[in-house]
């Protein structure tokens, strides 16, 4: 039985080309974005795109015959069911079954969508309308899932959909009307456009209603981002920088501006093991991320100086350090120039919104060890590290705020002031160091500051007292008993552009936020030749007594303060920012601390040699190993076999799926298995080789961290890669665009390319010459179609005054006659081709020829004659 066709082959070709192909491209892009947002899709957008493509193309082909949809869809469902049953037979083990069935579900779902799309394109006239609305809905969801919404991301999200929308609706109609000549065409068009907009309005209303929560999220994100991106509004400033992936980093500079923006975002959680002498009272320390030692007096901006002498800032990138391995820098301890009252304090930092590559720690940090986030907390914290600091006993967040009533703290304040008073000269300190840290900008307004500083401290002899005098000045009251200075996030700017903002703060306005207080204090201290610098980081607020040592850091705790150098004691935090009396800080909720890190017994760091996805085994070429907290170099050691069936795999951004692991990837694998630690371990031969030899392989691995390979670090502004960049989104987009362009060019040029092919072959024999002639005439708008060859030739001869009939006759004779051609005939025929084409070209104007030649429909017609 021969099936009736719903569309001709020609139409099918056009559908595949004009409807299916752009849709497939678009689907790839959408799937890519969906994969970035939904873990269930398991990051296999290429496969999913292929499922979709196959679905669309098969369905287009299938429905180009007159099949009914419902019955065939039932058959398809039956196929799915059979496939599932087969899968059930094949799958071994519960885990595999689960894994496969999820895969199969995704396949079936995406394939079905593709199938429906193919059917819609083929047979359902208004399908495209629903299809693009579906895509729009998806796009809206994708945008709402974005952590950071930028104008660019929104444009990138919606513009392709809109372009695709208009394109696909227009094209589907065009394809549909390809062979139709309707008299009421305009009326149809008006009706359709009107109806379309009506449906769009209704569906948009529904979408807005259903996803109003997501929209609220977008709104908030917008608000959050606006403040950051509104750089053209110079009055606004933030203490932290929002990276494009939504994480926060230190800004690297701090301009003095008219207003400060804050959010209530949780940045990180830390456990700081620092207590006062009694052992129970916590001694919170400010968490430092950077020191601003450079001041640009023109823009009045404090900034990082990478060339500062005696650099005591330890700034590793924890995301590039192998899990459990420690990176230490002892030079910072030396550069801290502190010998007295110092001890080592440890802290655990669990990042929430903090950028994975940022490192924050109180005082002089010198060591970092990335640690895993306990499994139960992986949805809350992205990564964690363990830090060690060289901390002064005299340092504390309690500097300004007199802890009235708390005797321990009062005693502490008193003792440390006394201690610091005892030492007030800088004899023996490197002069370069002193010069650098007491440098003042030139200018009249700075002279004013110097005068003020001198006036304030005229009665004080020690540096400590001078400092306290400056602090007291900020806390003092005016003649009316009102506070002289006020804390304000929106201090405003001096009316004169370019006026010294610090002078404006100190003498006129007397309102400001931390940067003003710190900046003013810095220059007053430097005026008194006290070495000082600005530190930025986070204010540690001691709110909770439930979990001693645990601190929660929100974005509005981002802070700047002054550090003062004391001989022998090093840099001591000195915060002169006065409390904000107007807006009482709302109590921030403190969560549960991420407790429960297990003791690690074995860690191997290296590159993946081989992965067995079925058995969940992995062969690792180790570069170093950690055994019983001891670090061994393991170069040239035999490969390790690891069992990763129960491992959780973490990247910077959080937990990832098993199949992210690929050969050659640099990972750190850790095992908590206590039995490993029990192998005979002899001190004498504790080499990597000995340990590896005596390990029970495969080693059960509980924790894997993917380490980014060391690339040259971005100097200056370290832009974190967003998920878009992680996928090399731009390149893929450009690639797709180029590919599409190439295809378009190929399609445009294909008639010409085919002609070149024909032309090339034409010399071979009469048959190919005939084919070339037929193709050429076809492109010129003279298809042979249903005409007898000689009749057609006669027609052409009449038109162009050529001798195609003669050629055709000879060709036919050669082809079908029992006798061979005579030599004259052969000669004549072989001489025919080139002059003929030439004559034709001469007679058809150049422009017309090009237009006719590049008409793709002609080519299609030539190759696909009959439906």
């Amino acid at each position: 039985m021969q099936l009736e066709r719903a569309h001709s082959w020609k139409k099918l070709g056009v559908q595949c080309l004009l409807l299916a192909l752009p849709t497939i491209f678009f689907a790839f892009a959408v799937l890519l974005k969906l994969n970035a947002n939904y873990i269930i899709l398991q990051d296999q957008w290429i496969y999913q795109g292929i499922y979709f493509s196959i679905g669309v193309l098969l369905s287009l082909l299938f429905y180009s015959w007159r099949f009914r949809f419902i019955s065939t869809a039932l058959v398809l469902a039956l196929f799915y069911f059979i496939g599932y049953k087969i899968l059930e037979k094949l799958a071994v083990g519960e885990f595999d079954m689960f894994f496969l069935s999820v895969q199969y579900l995704i396949f079936a779902f995406i394939f079905s969508i593709g199938w429906l799309v193919g059917f819609g394109f083929s047979r359902w006239r208004f399908f495209t309308v629903f299809w693009v609305l579906f895509l729009l809905a998806i796009e809206i969801i994708i945008v709402s899932k974005m952590t950071t919404v930028t104008a660019g991301a929104i444009v990138l999200g919606f513009v392709p959909v809109l372009i695709y929308t208009f394109y696909i609706i227009y094209t589907s109609e065009l394809v549909r009307n390809l062979n139709e000549h309707q008299s009421s065409f305009r009326w149809y068009l008006t009706k359709r456009v009107g109806g379309f907009f009506g449906v769009v309005v209704v569906i948009f209303a529904i979408i807005f209603y259903i996803f109003r929560k997501d929209f609220a999220g977008i709104e908030n994100a917008w608000k959050k981002v606006e403040s950051h991106y509104n750089n053209e509004q110079p009055n606004s400033q933030r203490m932290t920088k929002v990276n494009r992936d939504g994480t926060l980093s230190s800004t690297g500079q701090m301009p003095l501006s008219g207003s400060l923006n804050k959010t209530k975002q949780l940045v990180f959680v830390a456990h700081l093991n620092n207590f006062f002498a009694d052992g129970t009272t916590q001694n919170p320390l400010y968490f430092t991320s950077d020191y601003y030692t450079k001041f640009d007096s023109v823009t009045q901006t404090f900034a990082t100086d990478t060339l500062r002498p005696f650099n005591d800032l330890f700034s590793p990138d924890p995301s590039r350090i192998s899990l459990f391995f420690t990176k230490t820098d002892s030079s910072v301890i030396k550069n801290a120039l502190a010998t007295q009252s110092r001890r080592v304090v440890e802290a655990d930092i669990y990042k929430v919104a903090l950028s994975p590559s940022d490192y924050l720690a109180p005082s002089t940090a010198f060591s970092v060890q990335p640690i895993p986030v306990p499994y139960e907390y992986t949805d809350q914290y992205t990564s964690a590290y363990h830090a060690k600091m060289w901390v002064s006993d005299l340092n504390s967040a309690y500097f300004v705020y007199n802890p009235a009533g708390n005797t321990i703290l009062e005693d502490f304040q008193k003792t440390r002031y006394d201690l610091l008073r005892s030492d007030s000269n800088y004899v023996g300190i490197d002069s370069e160091f002193l010069d650098y840290y007491t440098r003042m900008p030139e200018g009249k307004s700075y002279q004013q500051i110097i005068q003020l500083a001198d006036a304030l401290t005229s009665g004080d002899s020690t540096n400590m007292d001078k400092m306290l005098a400056i602090r007291d000045y900020f806390l003092s009251k005016d003649e009316f008993g009102q506070p002289l200075f006020q804390y304000s996030d929106n201090p405003g700017e001096p009316g004169l552009p370019g006026a010294n903002k610090l002078a404006y703060f100190l003498f006129d306005n007397r309102k400001g936020y931390c940067a003003y207080f710190a900046g003013a204090t810095l220059f007053m201290l430097r005026a008194l030749h006290i070495p000082s610098r600005i530190a930025t980081g986070f204010l540690t607020v001691d709110r909770s007594s439930k979990n001693p040592g645990w601190y929660w850091f929100y974005e509005d705790q981002a802070h700047a303060w002054v550090q003062v150098f004391f001989k022998g004691y090093g840099w001591i935090d000195f915060d002169t920012t006065i409390p904000d009396v107007n807006t009482q800080q709302a109590p921030q909720p403190d969560g549960t601390p991420p407790l429960g890190t297990q003791k690690v017994s074995f860690v191997a760091d290296g590159t993946i040699e081989k992965i067995d996805t079925a058995k969940k085994r992995l062969i690792l070429t180790p570069s170093k190993i950690l055994f019983k907290d001891k670090n061994f170099q393991a170069v040239d050691q035999p490969d390790l076999r690891l069992n990763i069936a129960f491992a959780k795999i973490a990247a910077d951004t959080g937990l990832v799926n098993f199949d992210v692991l690929t050969k050659g990837m640099h990972i750190t694998a850790a095992s908590y298995d206590e039995s490993i630690g029990k192998i005979p371990f002899q001190k004498v031969t504790d080499t990597a080789a000995y340990i590896i030899d005596h390990l029970q392989q495969p080693i059960p691995i509980d924790e894997i961290k993917i380490i980014k390979d060391n690339e040259p670090k971005n100097t200056g502004n370290n832009i974190d890669l967003s998920y878009l960049q992680n996928f090399q989104w731009l390149w893929i987009l450009i690639g797709i665009a180029l590919f599409a362009l190439l295809i378009v060019i190929l399609i445009i040029l294909s008639p010409w390319l085919i002609w070149q092919l024909f032309n090339l072959r034409a010399g071979k024999n009469l048959h190919f010459a005939q084919r070339a002639i037929l193709y050429f005439l076809n492109q010129m708008g003279y298809p042979r179609d249903n005409q007898a060859p000689e009749f057609f030739a006669g027609h052409i001869d009449d038109q162009f005054d050529t001798h195609l009939s003669m050629f055709t006759r000879i060709y036919q004779k050669e082809k079908y006659s029992a006798h061979p051609l005579t030599s004259e005939e052969r000669q004549e025929a072989s001489r025919f081709y080139k002059p003929f084409i030439k004559t034709l070209k001469e007679q058809i104007p150049w422009k017309k020829r090009v237009v006719l030649f590049l008409n793709f429909y002609h080519t299609l017609h030539f190759f696909i004659k009959n439906p």
């Binding site: 039985m1 021969q2 009736e4 071979k764 024999n765 009469l766 048959h767 190919f768 005939q770 084919r771 037929l774 042979r784 179609d785 249903n786 005409q787 007898a788 060859p789 000689e790 009749f791 036919q812 004779k813 050669e814 082809k815 079908y816 006659s817 029992a818 006798h819 061979p820 004659k865 009959n866």
Partner: protein
């Protein structure tokens, strides 16, 4: 074959000349109908019969008469004869094949031959005759012999029937059944001439009329028979045989066709192809011949399911096959 080989070898040129002469002669009377004339000659040279269908006044009968006169002469002498029968519903088979009549002299029934015993028969308005008569005629056309009672009388060696039928006057007609249409090698639609030719005819109608009356015999029966024999020797390439096979079988395998073409029609197709090639002055069949003949030879043998299929299907089958042949590269093999 009785003819000597020398005759055959030179027969192509001779045949072409003969056909030319015949065509020229007919063209004196029939204007602007060269494709039709060629098809009619094809049927004749292939040894078959032709059915001409069209509206009245398009020149069917004139055509038939002119052809008949050109080969049989108007005098009706013994060697070549032309008979014309106007079919009516009351015509009986006896009127066609003849009957036994009583001979007074010999006191015996002798067989008086009917008009079928001739070389060229014009069966005018064949669909007006009763089915009984139609069957009788078509039987004779196929068998080339008549059996009356116990005795079998062979028809003339060159027996060519030109039947006409009128498509619009359906009242009192008996449409030929498909099986009987199969007996006609070719069915053509005569069609009207184009405007220019028509004007030409009006201007010249007197001369045409005169020509019609004065038309001369240009070919003898022997020459026709020789043409037929020459046509048998025309070469048909195996690929073209395959093409005929493909076309014929495609008509059988289509859903839109109730009754496809028979093997017999395939054979007549090949015969017609050869004849047509000869008319074209060739001793081999080409794609052209296939293209020209497919519809004329096969269309009336096929019973379509609907009008749409009738309008398109055979053309599609033919075009597919032509496309295949066109892409066929036979040059390299030689």
């Amino acid at each position: 074959m009785e003819n000597t080989p020398t005759v055959i070898s030179s027969s192509i040129e001779q045949s072409v000349l003969n056909i030319e002469r015949l065509t020229k002669n007919i063209e004196k009377v029939i204007r602007g109908k060269i494709p039709q004339i060629r098809l009619i000659l094809t049927a004749m040279i292939a040894g078959g019969h032709i059915l001409m269908e069209d509206n009245p006044g398009t020149g069917k009968t004139v055509m038939a008469k002119t052809l008949a006169k050109s080969i049989a002469g108007s005098t009706g002498d013994k060697t070549a004869s032309f008979k014309r029968i106007q079919f009516t519903p009351d015509l009986l088979p006896m009127d066609l094949i003849g009957s036994y009549i009583f001979d007074e002299q010999h006191k015996d029934f002798i067989f008086k031959k009917g008009p079928l015993f001739c070389n060229v028969l014009l069966a005018d308005e064949i669909n007006r005759a009763s089915p009984k008569l139609q069957s009788a005629l078509l039987e004779c056309m196929a068998e080339k012999q008549i059996t009356v009672g116990e005795k079998t009388y062979p028809l003339e060696k060159m027996f060519f029937t030109m039947a006409t039928q009128n498509p619009i006057e359906m009242e009192g007609t008996y449409p030929l059944p498909a099986a009987q249409l199969d007996r006609f090698y070719i069915k053509i639609r005569f069609g009207y001439v184009d405007d220019e030719t028509e004007l030409n005819i009006y201007e010249d109608y007197l001369a045409i009329q005169k020509n019609q009356e004065e038309i001369q015999q240009v070919l003898s029966i022997e020459e026709i028979i020789q043409l037929q024999q020459t046509a048998e020797d025309v070469f048909v390439h195996p690929e073209l045989l395959k093409a005929v096979r493909n076309i014929v079988s495609a008509t059988r395998n289509s859903d839109e066709i109730i009754l496809g073409a028979s093997t017999r029609s395939g054979i007549s197709f090949i015969k017609c192809l050869k004849a047509f090639a000869l008319i074209g002055g060739r001793d081999y069949v080409t794609e052209n011949d296939l293209q020209h003949l497919t519809h004329a030879v096969l269309d009336h043998r096929i019973l379509y399911r609907n009008k749409e299929a009738r309008a398109k299907l055979l053309y599609q089958i033919q075009e597919n096959e032509m496309e295949r042949l066109s892409k066929l590269n036979l040059s390299t093999k030689k």
